[in-house]
Assembly symmetry: D3
Homo-oligomer: 318 residues x 6
């Protein structure tokens, strides 16, 4: 087709980059078509951030996280093992320009369709702001039995829906109110002082939500919190969905979230949590949200998101 393709050193635009014949790029694991029979992962971009309470450019995160994934290699030197998973990049969900609820409906529908068609593929949803977790988990849950969630977040995200509609402050409220997830099937980790209100903490307690604050994270090893959470959920649910709001991290480690602040988790703690969770068979889905590449420094936060995905894929059992 490209009738110049036999001219030496002339490559398709953007592909004339250096390749080392002995390095397998992580990007080579990612395909834009799905091989039905295989077990694997499916990446879905949900570039919605008009739903944010404050101005957010999280719409750009799926693209930037994908770029980061391309740049890394498949080899985990800590485990002396090459990742050889099958990752299907299903693409991005087209958002409506002016109708935010329509955009959220599309997310729910796509998640339902994808998980139906690819029951053996674990969805990794790239936000977007945290509002996407409500439709994402709703769509995801359609084909599952009882679904629980572990949410890493500085915030409850249990705001009322009257004041602003389904925003990035409300996804878990919506999930609880719609019955997609029960309060006692929700574990929130990393909540921070002065970033929540008494009313919503009370709401969380009334609905049986399990809450680990940053004080818990500081004073107990993250390993203990994760093990405790898993042990607790194992009794109650069939499938666990992990929702990673990157603002759970300290601003030094995730400078690109809209709601940055001091006193959060370290990268090491979060990556360790992901490793432990990935090794649990019941963990069946994940989203990563609240990265605004227009605010980030050198895509640090998206780089960390890529590592979360890679460690998740590396350690995934199930």
């Amino acid at each position: 087709m490209n009738n110049l393709s036999n001219i030496p050193y002339l490559k398709k635009a953007g592909q004339a980059t250096f390749n080392d014949r002995h390095v397998k790029k992580f990007g080579e694991l990612i395909h834009d078509w799905c091989c039905q029979k295989e077990k694997g992962f499916v990446i879905i971009g949900a570039p919605l951030s008009k739903s944010s309470i404050s101005h957010s450019g999280a719409t750009f995160a799926p693209g930037v996280i994908r770029q980061q994934l391309q740049a890394y290699s498949t080899y985990a030197i800590e485990e002396e093992r090459d990742v050889d998973a099958y990752i299907y990049d299903a693409g991005d969900i087209e958002m409506h320009v002016t109708n935010i609820l329509e955009s959220q409906t599309r997310i729910a529908n796509v998640l339902e369709e994808v998980t139906k068609k690819h029951p053996n593929c674990i969805p990794i949803v790239l936000g977007g702001d945290h509002s996407i977790s409500y439709p994402s988990i709703t769509g995801f849950a359609k084909t599952k039995k009882t679904v629980g969630a572990i949410q890493f977040d500085a915030h409850h995200d249990l705001r009322n829906l009257e004041d602003g509609g389904p925003s990035n402050g409300t996804p878990f409220r919506s999930l609880l109110e719609s019955g997609v997830i029960k309060g006692e099937h929700l574990v929130q980790i990393g909540l921070r002082n002065f970033s929540n209100s008494k009313a919503y903490h009370d709401y969380a307690k009334e609905h049986g939500v399990t809450v680990y604050t940053m004080k818990d994270v500081r004073e107990r090893k993250i390993d203990n919190i994760i093990e405790e959470s898993i042990a607790y959920l194992k009794e109650k649910v069939d499938t666990v969905y992990i929702s990673v709001d990157m603002d759970v991290l300290d601003q030094a480690f995730a400078p690109g979230c809209p709601a940055i602040g001091p006193g959060g988790m370290t990268s090491d703690d979060l990556l360790q949590a992901i490793r432990l969770l990935a090794s649990e068979q019941m963990v069946g889905g994940m989203d990563i949200v609240e990265i605004d590449p227009t605010l980030d420094f050198r895509n640090m936060t998206s780089r960390l998101a890529a590592h979360i995905i890679m460690e998740f894929v590396l350690h995934k059992k199930g």
Copy 2:
């Protein structure tokens, strides 16, 4: 007055922002008038940075820290408690355009007046550069008996006054030489290699200043250092003033100080120190200095300053 105020959704300029009816903003605790009888806190802006040895935009810090305070909520989820303190924002001290000594005199006078009129209000002074601590503590001390100070800083700030006058390198020299604070009533925490000189360390020793270097902070828990400092000062002084030079922090955690560098404290350590100090009744004043918002990344350093204030208010006893 505003005769359009009955038009739906039309709000005063800058106030048409989203409000969640169930969230109490920290800003709601802050008033620009003082209710005399109450115990509380008084915020005073001292936007002086022309006194800095190197170029500094710390003059902008009081405004930026206030913005950050407005954005947070009152609820401390770690303690499951709503802060309900009374915080009086007394405003900013007007600085002279070209007469730096006059500006410093105004700071001393305002601190004296404010502490006289509001003996039950704990002053929280927002610099500005560190030069403001000399007039601030001088004014503060007028109505107190013996005053001691705990200074978080990478530097002694004990420079001679001949070479450049009362700058951000000299406040504690001035305090010692004027007798406002005695050397043995001064505790310095966080001093760093290659950021001080032998002459001034010698001066500190000769005057009985207590010095904890970063090696001490690295090797001992910050809790021990604070407890030891408090125990020591309790024997000697009536009131302790905390002076927080944000450059005591590692550059990764406080990127917005003029004199950033590696090897400093973490946010967690400093916040923990503040919590412990706040719970001491004898702690009666605080300043936060050396934040230059023009150099910061996404106001990270001012966000941390806001957390220092909020944790201080939350844990304050006395």
Copy 3:
């Protein structure tokens, strides 16, 4: 109320700035209450940018433009005249977090109410993106007879409404289709190559819209274009509303618009156009849109917007 107000040099937060007793700031002309009887201007913030096709932070523009207005003085040295107009800042319209159409309805309602209550005040609406001009002009037109518009823009803004709803690409389409403005009452100035499509240019022609491209601006003096436009509209309408999309300017002069590009107007040309238009009695409203302060360099584009407002107020007749 502020019981420290008698302490020398202590000013309300943010107000301890330098004042020269012989300089009257433009901000002093701006009041947050309206004196009904007077003729004057009314500023209304319409901080909507979720309606943009591409990501936009134009929601921050009203606040930044207001800051710029505060900084300038009232004195027009070119005319040797102090502006002494009465400018009422009616505030900002609160936008809904997730319902963009609701936000647009609020804009229309507020404009209608304000122009009803203050028929002698010329509204100056600060966007936001260009989508606000549809509700703004719709509300404005309620109390007027025939309304025409002069639109400065690199783009037609006549896109179809099916593909994305009422966005910043559609305001003049909506105005024409709703009949608020007739095609022959619309003059578009500054349209640029490769920034429009044949279909919409054809639509413009079919509806009798008058179009001046950048070639016209380059080859004819702007004075001629404005005079011709005014002469044309005088025959047809009672009131003219000016809609200034700042991307009509060359990127060197307005670096803060989402859709910057080369080959646009100079600041001098646009300011001259505004001076000429202001002096026409029939010009009765204005909006300034498409400034994204998060993309700008040192608020250059908002500074220019402030000059547009000030020259408009200075030269306004009628």
Copy 4:
């Protein structure tokens, strides 16, 4: 292949963007395969900037210019005409990591091959730094008879080759010394004070190079200079290659060149020159060089490069 392609709103990664059915994007004219028979244009990326005397990120320019081209539309409202040219994007030439001369040889070879295989396609080469013009024109000239060049540049680019090899300071020296272009077939436009040396101006004169300084540009209309240049070259050469060093522009209009400075051309002048040149049948090739996207502001300089290409394609005759 993509077995999710029938899920509504799910698009390939990066393609879930807004499309207006009535807008034809300029990117639609650009194909990554060539239809042999057609007349047209061929874009070739030459991402070499290690050859620069000063540090340069011009290696990123081909990618960024292509992005800009995608964003614009095909419609030239000034001419009321849709561009319908065939543009073949041949891709990028892979550069060697550590052997700069090898990289330059590859450029010459690719240009020779492309122009041989596609004699009816006008090459548009995207640098990279200006060093690429030596191999580019050398390869281009292989299949042409006498080739002349019009170089827009603040600098002669006639440096000696002993001091640093074939850098971005030497391309026209190499072309003259190798005999690919004769001095009397070279026209340089836009040379600037304090940006050249007497020795190289003398060299230019000795070799019969035609030089128009910025004083010429300021004092004569650019139209006259271009017409004079074309008239002059028509007598002497068969084919003219245009080499556009973007630093010919004033820094206000092209902030992203390594060697920016005041006193250069305006965007309008350069675009007008391109329009006039494009309409000359003998103009048969072009390169655009010296854009460093890592230094630019909002890709202004690449946006201007895209406009140069689009105006060139729009007006091309021959």
Copy 5:
């Protein structure tokens, strides 16, 4: 001394840069020692900006302008002439850390000493903010007969001294009040709307100051204004000092001034004015002020300052 100096390719730190044997750098004209007998120029850095009403980093400008001067060459291609002037860099005046008046006194003393010792050297003073022009001209005038000044500025700089002391708003007030310069010997060019007050324009008129506003600059050629100014001053004074406040330029051309705004002069106009002034024998001194490199984009404003100096030196007669 440097006993490695005979190791090939090892150069003193910072000097291992590329040198083209045929290019003479402008920096080679600049010496840090003075050859008494020669006619020439003397550069003096006055890095004072603590005197600014608003925050300013103009203290860094002398260093940055010098860097720019080093980078250019000596050859003026427009005139086909190599500059061969003798330029003595006398260095920087050390500023006091906390005593601004002392700093200003030092400037006056140094200017007096330098002009006494080097009566044949034309001083080029690099600010700092505009406050330095009062001491600079005062020192300069000591050895001259009647001194006049041509001030390029958006502002009068005639503020009262009571409100803030001798700041960057007052230098020409101080010069008039001290009698160093008479009002009728002062020409101000480029004053802008909304950037001055009626009171100070009245003061200017009362004192016989000649004022050309931007309207004058727009409507008359700058050549005419300069010729008229020179003709006027020739009747009245012996020596003219040029004071260039870079904020006289439009923000697009000088983005690095503290007080940027639209509607100012172009680079071309200012450079042309400098060329014309330099050719007047009576012009005997110059300062360039109000560049804040911390706010600039890629040192554009300092680059322009360097061009002003180079064109001044190139065209200087006398």
Copy 6:
């Protein structure tokens, strides 16, 4: 020479900065001439970064690191000791503009010459990218017996040389293949997941390279790793060269490396490693590489490099 040197407060350009008579700057220990007899250190700049696989501005690092060194003081408060070492700054090696291999040869030659002439001086080489370690260690090893290396790095740097020549991905491959260092004499610390390939890890193992991954660093104290490494090398080699690729650090602590990422070492760990290594007599050379000041935030990474050098000098024994 400078005949104005007796004018008060007039200092050479750039030297009119504040000096505190009681502070000795670290810069005072650094001389640009060498006193042969003394033991000491020699700084050599190797500003090569055209050899990088990805775009790199590491060429600017030597200059920026030197600036940082100037700014600190000599006093180590943790040890209560003034550094009094003799540090000779031999300058920078001039790089060829277009011949990268020639540049690398120059580095090898200079290192050989310097270490021959100054056998008692420990070289501290400032990169540049990591490609400089091959010629640097090759030159260094000429006068030593058996040389081993401890490499801090996220990456092996053992790539094949066929695909891109001697780049920043290959230095230790070249050293092993040329026999300058044996595999069993190389210790690599800090290698990270997804940043290496299986093929090169296999190569490392086959050649007996000792590898500590980040998992080792996380799970064991850095002190243990360093002690184990030293104990191991003491058995095998005479001299150890430390190669510090700053990307071994977590991106939060070294934001200015081209290949930043999460999950790396902390500043404290690296500084502690340096202290321990410095105290070993057999450590005889060091380089610091892969800092790109054009990407850094406030030169944080260069500041850390300066601390590495200062701690190294402070603790050096031997």
